[in-house]
């Protein structure tokens, strides 16, 4: 049995490849055999800089590697996005509850992502892509600040081309080259023609998730079938540090993915 403190020990592993997604976002491919579920996260350490939670963004069924897509916002993410192939990172996980993959089988699915929020949803979409027969119709709604900030563009092109999925993208601020939709991501619900029986998976800024969930409820979706992925400060990932509490919940192990029926009340209380 390992003592509590030993659970904080990272495994040191090699970064096999890196891929720049946008100006401030990089995907690391890390050597690891640890299985995970879409929506789960790992704690990644940049040696001498610090540790932070990062979701899995890769295919859940490709053995030997993990993918993590990281946006540079502060010290630790700065160091992680600067890592070169061959370097080591510390890794522990996977932690948390992921997306309800079993429930998705046979259902229509609507996926709504804002900004880096597409990263934790990517494993779901990759799973759908590999096994289109098991699921209903899928709609992917993506919002980004500007066209330059759209993540995983080659994936989006591929998914768009696939018959199993409808892909809609919008930006807050367009540039000259942008011919697509401009405005908040909820604007895409109309063109996507959502089936009220769908399961919805949401990840992005809290405010975006609140608006999207409200609109989905109005379209007739069941609050138990709308899932959101929450973000709170996390330092341990395993319920020791207390930072991620949201009312009665530890986001690290009772989340980050929770149904809207649970999240709604918690997200309504200011400063909870």
């Amino acid at each position: 049995m390992s003592t509590t403190i030993e659970r904080l020990a990272a495994t040191w592993t090699r970064v096999a490849a890196t891929r720049r997604e946008t100006a401030d976002t990089v995907t690391l491919t890390i050597e690891s055999d640890q299985p995970f579920r879409p929506g789960q996260f790992d704690m990644l350490t940049a040696l001498g800089v610090g540790e932070c939670p990062v979701s899995h963004s890769g295919h859940p069924r490709i053995a030997g590697v993990h993918e993590h897509t990281i946006r540079r916002v502060g010290a630790v993410t700065n160091a992680l996005t600067a890592i070169k192939p061959g370097d080591t990172v510390g890794i522990r996980g996977p932690y948390g509850r992921g997306w309800p993959m079993e429930d998705l089988v046979g259902s229509d699915i609507v996926v709504i992502a804002g900004g880096i929020g597409l990263a934790p949803l990517r494993p779901v979409i990759l799973a759908l892509e590999s096994d289109p027969g098991s699921y209903g119709r899928a709609a992917l709604l993506v919002g980004a600040r500007t066209p330059e900030d759209i993540q995983f563009t080659s994936d989006l092109d591929r998914w768009n081309a696939s018959s199993a999925m409808d892909v809609f993208v919008t930006v807050d601020r367009a540039d000259e080259t942008w011919v697509g939709s401009v405005g908040v991501v909820t604007r895409l619900l109309d063109p996507a023609a959502i089936n009220p029986e769908s399961i919805a998976l949401l990840c992005g800024p809290e405010i975006m998730m609140r608006f999207a969930a409200t609109d989905l409820l109005a379209l007739g979706l069941d609050p138990d079938r709308i899932y959101v992925s929450l973000e709170r400060n996390m330092e341990c990932g395993i319920g020791l540090c207390g930072h991620c509490q949201l009312g009665p919940m530890f986001v690290c192990w009772q989340g980050p993915v929770v149904p809207w029926s649970v999240a709604a009340d918690l997200m309504r209380v200011p400063e909870l």
Binding site: W12, A46, L47, V49, G50, A75, K84, D87, T88
Partner: protein, 266 residues
């Protein structure tokens, strides 16, 4: 000890040894002396960082630009102000060290008073001076990247900030109360157990709860914590205790807005 060998990652430290300069304004020199007081780490510091302008320690003074500039002391003359603007131009990262540079220091006591009158109290010929009305922190005039609190700064804290800047780490500069350090250290609360006035609950951590560990109340030398509820704190004391709380607020960080404001509520 359990030991495991793994391959080393890129450690964040820059390839080139970064350069550092130390600049003095109105101060007691104690904060920059903290660098030399880090005896056991001094040679490690000078190996990791090329200190190329540190008049207190070396007569080798090279011109800027510098990767890191440490600013000690407050701005009290128009010449200081000009110099500070130049310093900002020359430094990649500008780090202030200590209460003088962060909030104006004890000499900011003059901000509420008439400088000529003060000068006349001390010097027979006050007309020889050319000083500004107020003693002000660097951040009042230029952008500051990191502010290290304390009168004086904590020696280990200072070395840690340098290490953090080198590694690209977030420096550990807590803004919470001294009380947390007091309890972590396991010292007796002098306020609860002895009824002594203590500014710990409104003062920012960083000293390691030094004063309470020496059986005296904190007098606020690290400046305001993120929450400064002095009205509630001082309500615990009689007239004399309140006077002690107020004196603490009006000492080494008298120029910190939160303490300035708080002193009005004692």
């Amino acid at each position: 000890m359990t030991r495991r060998a793994v391959s080393r990652s890129s450690r964040g430290l820059r390839d080139r040894r970064p350069t550092l300069a130390v600049f003095k304004f109105a101060s007691c020199d104690g904060c920059q002396l903290s660098i030399l007081d880090a005896e056991d780490q001094l040679l490690a510091v000078t190996e990791a960082i090329d200190i190329i302008n540190f008049p207190e320690a070396s007569s080798r003074i090279l011109p800027g630009p510098y990767d890191i500039g440490l600013v000690e002391g407050s701005v009290t003359t128009s010449h200081d102000l000009e110099r500070l603007l130049e310093v900002r131009e020359q430094c990649g990262l500008l780090v202030t060290i200590g209460a003088c540079a962060m909030s104006g220091g004890i000499q900011a006591l003059r901000n509420a008073r008439d400088v000529d009158e003060l000068a006349a109290m001390v010097y027979p010929n006050p007309e020889y001076f050319d000083v500004l009305e107020e003693s002000t922190p660097a951040s009042r005039h230029v952008r500051v990247d990191v502010e290290i609190p304390g009168c004086p700064v904590n020696r280990r804290g200072l070395v840690d900030v340098l290490g953090a800047l080198l590694a690209g780490r977030r420096p550990a500069l807590p803004t919470h109360s001294v009380c947390i350090e007091c309890k972590i250290r396991g010292t007796t609360c002098v306020m609860v157990a002895k009824g002594q006035p203590c500014l710990g609950p409104v003062t920012r951590a960083g000293c390691g709860a030094l004063c309470p560990s020496y059986a005296r109340g904190c007098y606020g030398c690290f400046g305001p914590a993120d929450v400064v509820n002095v009205a509630s704190l001082s309500a615990q004391f009689d007239t004399e205790g309140k006077a002690t709380i107020k004196a603490g607020l009006q000492s080494f960080n008298v120029g910190a807005p939160a303490f300035e404001e708080a002193a009005r509520h004692v």
